[in-house]
Symmetry: C2
Subunit: 231 residues, 2 copies
Amino acid sequence: MTLHTDRHFEDELQSLQELLLRMGGLVERQIAHAIESLVERDSELAREVIARDREVNRLDILIDEECLKVIALHQPAAGDLRFVTTALKVNTDLERIGDMAVNICERALELNDEPMLKPYIDVPNMAKEAQQMVRTSLDALVRRDTALARRVIEQDDVVDGYAHQLYRELLSFMVEEPKTISRATRILLVSKYLERIADHATNIAEMVVFMVDGKMIRHAASLPRGGAELA
Amino acid sequence: MTLHTDRHFEDELQSLQELLLRMGGLVERQIAHAIESLVERDSELAREVIARDREVNRLDILIDEECLKVIALHQPAAGDLRFVTTALKVNTDLERIGDMAVNICERALELNDEPMLKPYIDVPNMAKEAQQMVRTSLDALVRRDTALARRVIEQDDVVDGYAHQLYRELLSFMVEEPKTISRATRILLVSKYLERIADHATNIAEMVVFMVDGKMIRHAASLPRGGAELA
């Protein structure tokens, strides 16, 4: 019977993992469509993304319930328990990434009502990096691959670099032409949403490293020297 | 022996709760000091808040480990398990509120280097609301009080109202006087950080309602009619 139970438990962990990947794929597409609605000035698409947030939210509820069920029924031990509690937290990050896609669409709807300020070249480039970070952080989770997770954490600097560049560019737009201010601040907010998506992916990657190594790199700088290993 | 074990378990839940309240009190003070460093133009205080984020991070690690220990050792059943997994998620929200206080201080350090744009009246008022939301959401958690949790959720509109008002005000500053743009965008970011703190408190409150009632109000609008009760 133990074999049967273990098999069942493995299946449930597997299906939990697949749910997380489905959620990840969904929010990745939400980001891509949100940016497309901005760049192509497609307000219809923006409204579709906002409506599809219902799916993200349903999946969020489902994954949380699955995590609780796995813990309650199988009482997993150390490593597996850490995976399931990590899944609980990763799920929240993914749901909030979905919220960021909605926020981007809200700004897109406002921006699409006004003449275009400038071609949004940096914005889609920045979005591509952020999307890739989300995908890679989930790959790292399911493969328990800390090297991959660390690549995500490093990639966050690329996104921050784009954000900084865009900020300076928008600032000079606003200074030279005050009538661009309202549009420029909205684009600035879009860049902030993308930064937050990258932050969420970074959080996921840091949790993966902690889950696998027991190393709390997310706060490594906060710990006394030599105290970075807690588990 | 069961009695003894139960007692021990109750003690651990109690101490977990106290840790969360300690974390809550700490991040609340971090917000208050961050805003003080901005309003009083006290860069020394800003640097202290940034340094004290180490404490927030240490407590974050400790609380996560406590949650895992409680689950692994006591294998709590439905309601208690839901409390511990909620604690895991609440802890993450509190840690990120701490990060927002650090971000406010970073903007304060930049703003304190330039002449003051205007008296920051709305900013501290907005911060007080956000702080109160954090405190009340944790009260709601430890008392399992959904009415209190719902008050937090309603209060989010007050913070959003302040944010909107501040945005319009800063926009008109920038339009009338382009040399204020750099400072105004920094204050705009501070207001965004406070909005995010209020969002985190709202998330906590929504999780409390779900924990107590099994009602997923955080996505109530996403569910088909009559489908708001999942548990």
